[in-house]
């Protein structure tokens, strides 16, 4: 029996190239005759384009110039609805909207030229806040500025208030957050009417780009090809936006007849591309005298920016996660995503859940105080258990033990002793310490019927050399997809990890495995890889070439012989939704996710009351995400997510002025450095999930959900300030502390 490779920290498949600098990212690729491309953007948030002028002194005849009228097909970037133009035509709806594209062989001259294109716009009144959008101060999208709204109903909320011993209300806000992958967006395109279009790029979802390019160029699907290059981080930021930059480079290539490279500089990337949706959540919670929930009434609004893009699905996840891992007989969640004249907000790790989880977990600390219970006791009295129903009326069929996760977090961090000690010592110190936590869940995979619609595919095939190759549209962007697929395939086949090859995603070869998002790659696509590998193994056994008790070499021999005798050995598997997963998209009820990760995150902070600087001193992350395929990679996901969550909580602040981000630099948009992250205890409670490959569930997004509320609760504990908004910046905190206890920050 071969030793299992699941649960082993197999070395990162593509790691050697990364540590030696030989890994090839998009900006490391060059083509003969290649031009550089750039984008001229709207300086105003809303208006009518009156004229575009090209200033004297630039040899414009050397440039390829593209505007909306040069688009050979349709002028939209296909996503859910096709409301976002590829290039603004006549009107602009947000600052930094692309209007003109330029290409030239000399990138220095290109930048000079970009500054000499003037876009004259007759301004129209613009709106920048959730409040103005809801008040319909201007109608800027559709009939009412609403991209999407949901209403989830369980029980009867309205009749619950009368019998409540306590009713606690609160409003909470989260700011925009920049993904800040260290490799900016970039693509190279080659295109022409005869050859079609090929795009190489830093991207998460090759088939999203493929879907978007097809109508823009009016090409049949088989003449559009998308190839992922090594991708220097995505975090959602390279989910939908690469379709835009790919189209832009493609249009310049189409018109010039030459390959065009388009790489954003940091400032352009920060101001023009997507960010996490800002949000506002209102909670009204009714409780019985014993602290059990009677009703939760939740109202969630997200700022979607100027076009719909992914807002309906971000909102969906935010909505479903808004009531957390608790049992409450009566729940109503009303939510909406609204339009404002800022660049569209988009996917960012957590995808709506970090916003609503922040609101809930911050609210519950306030509820606990109002009811007179300790924060943990309130949660313990309301945690969901197997057989109970979540807000969307999904019956929890998994083994879930939130109490145990809480116990482990408390034990690892000496929670009770510290809480008591901090409270005893704080009055005598200018540095106040606090400890706080958040309990939460995160659904893995697409919401509701999403996986059924995606109908993802993966292929496992044998090569004539006796290797096994995995073909999937899932991309490696640092999270470890290559390595996890390798382990799943090797384990299933009982061969060495070194015998597995992962083909780089290229739509000419790999099937559509769905987008690399939603914590679905290990659980869903990994499951397809497992099934495909098993099918391949069965074919070999059936052929009589693979003998019982084979070893890696025997398996390779069988592959070689099979191919020599019978031809290609390819195993394709398509996702089939298990029959007992039901989702009602109209009523927004049912099995929202096939599986959830469950977690308790705990933060310890110090707040210097003289500077209001917050430091996170220690962090404990306890989670149950099924079997851990690769402990080093899994812990890396948690640690990295916690760091991003700390940024979301206390550092990362997008400063807006007239709908433009005005701190679009790493100098003044602050993300955590090596000096800012605390030691992080990562604890996995492993409960194998019956439907995941080798028992694994999703993990990638979960760490973003619980970090910020844990930190915010710790700050509130340290200072007595009733934190209602993140990021908690020193300016706001110092004001709140000076105003006295329980002021708003």
């Amino acid at each position: 029996m071969k030793e299992s490779v699941i649960g082993k920290s197999i070395l990162r498949k593509e790691g050697r190239g990364k540590v030696t600098g030989s890994a090839c990212y998009i900006d490391d690729l060059n083509f003969p005759e290649m031009l550089y491309g750039t984008t001229v953007r709207s300086p105003l948030a809303r208006g009518r384009i009156r004229a575009i002028h090209f200033d004297e002194g630039i040899p414009w005849d050397q440039f390829t110039i593209v505007t909306a009228k040069d688009i050979p097909g349709q002028n939209y970037v296909a996503l859910i609805v096709n409301d976002q133009p590829c290039l603004a035509d006549r009107v602009v709806n947000h600052a930094e909207e692309a209007v003109v594209l330029l290409a030239h062989p000399d990138k220095y001259l290109l930048e000079e030229a970009r500054r000499n294109v003037g876009i004259e716009i007759d301004p129209l009144p613009a709106i920048f806040t959730i409040e103005d959008s809801l008040a319909k101060k201007e109608i800027i999208w559709g009939e009412d500025n609403i991209f999407k709204c949901y209403e989830v109903n369980k029980g009867d909320v309205d009749s619950a208030w009368a019998g409540a011993a306590f009713v606690v209300e609160g409003e909470y806000e989260t700011g925009a957050q920049e993904q800040l992958y260290i490799e900016p967006q970039g693509v190279i395109a080659r295109a022409g009417p005869s050859e079609g279009i090929t795009v190489w790029g830093s991207l998460q979802c090759p088939y999203y780009v493929h879907k978007a390019l097809t109508p823009i160029f009016g090409l049949p699907k088989d003449r559009v090809r998308v190839i992922q290059t090594e991708t220097g981080g995505g975090f959602g930021g390279k989910e939908e936006y690469p379709s835009m930059i790919a189209a832009h480079a493609g249009l310049l290539a189409w018109k010039s007849g030459k390959p065009v490279k388009m790489i954003y500089d940091r400032a352009e990337d920060m101001v023009a591309t997507t960010k996490r949706h800002p949000s506002r959540t209102r909670h009204r919670t009714a409780l019985r005298r014993d602290g059990k929930f009677l009703a939760m009434d939740i109202d969630l609004t997200m700022d979607g920016g100027a076009y719909e893009t992914l807002s309906p699905v971000v909102l969906s996840r935010g909505t479903i996660h808004a009531a957390g891992p608790y049992h409450c007989p009566n729940v109503r969640i009303r939510s909406r995503a609204v339009a404002t004249n800022v660049p569209p907000h988009g996917a960012f790790r957590g995808f709506g859940a970090p916003q609503s989880v922040f609101a809930l977990e911050r609210h519950l600390d306030r509820v606990a105080a109002a009811v007179g219970l300790a924060p943990d006791e309130l949660r313990r009295r309301n945690f969901i258990h197997e057989g109970q129903t979540l807000a969307v009326s999904q019956v929890v069929r998994e083994k879930v033990d939130m109490d145990r996760l809480l116990d482990r977090a408390f034990e690892a961090s000496s929670y009770h002793q510290k809480r008591e000690r901090f409270e005893r010592e704080n009055p005598h110190s200018t540095v106040k310490k606090g400890i706080g936590f958040a309990a939460f869940l995160h659904g893995a995979g697409f919401t509701g019927s999403g996986e059924e619609y995606l109908a993802s595919e993966a292929i496992v095939e044998a090569t004539p050399e006796g290797m096994v190759r995995v073909l999937a549209g899932s991309t490696e962007m640092g999270q470890g997809a290559n390595t996890v697929f390798t382990q799943v395939a090797a384990e299933t086949l009982g061969i060495d990890c070194g015998q597995i090859e992962i083909l780089r995603p290229d739509t000419a070869y790999v099937p559509n495995s769905g987008p690399t998002v939603a914590s679905r790659t290990t659980m869903i696509v990994g499951g397809l890889v497992e099934s495909a590998a098993r099918q391949l193994q069965e074919a070999l056994i059936h052929s009589g070439l693979l003998k019982q008790g084979y070893d890696s070499e025997g398996f390779a021999d069988a592959c070689r012989q099979y191919i020599a005798e019978f031809g290609p050995l390819t195993s394709l598997v398509k996702y089939k939704q298990p029959a007992d997963i039901h989702w009602d998209d109209q009523r927004y009820q049912g099995d929202a996710y096939g599986a959830y990760g469950w977690a308790v995150y705990l933060a310890e902070v110090s707040v210097d009351t003289r500077t209001a600087e917050v430091r996170v001193d220690h962090f404990t992350a306890v989670q149950e995400v099924g079997t851990i395929v690769n402990p080093t990679l899994a812990a890396g996901q948690v640690e990295g997510g916690v760091a991003q969550g700390i940024g979301f909580a206390v550092y990362e602040n997008v400063v807006w002025k007239d709908g433009r981000m005005i701190n679009g630099q790493m100098t003044n948009y602050i993300m955590p450095t090596s000096m800012d992250v605390p030691p992080i205890r990562v604890i996995f409670e492993e409960v194998p999930y019956g439907r995941g490959p080798r028992g694994a569930k999703g993990i990638g997004e979960l760490p973003l959900d619980g970090t910020a509320p844990a930190v915010a609760n710790a700050i509130a504990h340290a200072t007595g300030v009733d934190i209602r908004r993140i990021p908690v910046l020193p300016e706001a905190l110092i004001e709140a502390m000076e105003a006295g206890d329980l002021a708003h920050a």
Partner: protein, 163 residues
Amino acid sequence: MPEPVRKIRVHCTVNGGPVAFEAYPMSRLLDALREELKLTGTKEGCGEGECGACAVEMNGDLVNSCLVPALHAEGANIRTIEGVARAGVLDALQQSFLEHGGAQCGICTPGMILAAVNLLERHPQPTELQIREGLAGNLCRCTGYIKIFESVLDAYRKQGLPR
């Protein structure tokens, strides 16, 4: 149009060997390395000296090559990520980044490894604070730095002796 500026010829040592390239005097060392010398392991993350993805060693100091004018490289001794492994054998730091999960997406990794190389040259047995400070100019968005600290600690422990 500005007056055309003439390129100058710069001679320096890169990864132990003499090289010469043509560059505009105020163009960036980063571009000279990547475009003239085809050493694309050095990355651009921000272009303003904040992220450290373009970090290289220059005369023993860690510098952000996006902030160094190419003409400053004249006569300098430069080490890039391509000069860290020797004859295809990974340096102890590269090996420990691989083993301890110090690299995820990999885009900050070349700069991070050079910062770690430079750190261990200055502090062969660094404390945790020295590691944190030594890497503070290199941003990583994937790892939360924890596995990077572990990688550096492991590398110096395995090496035992000062480099």
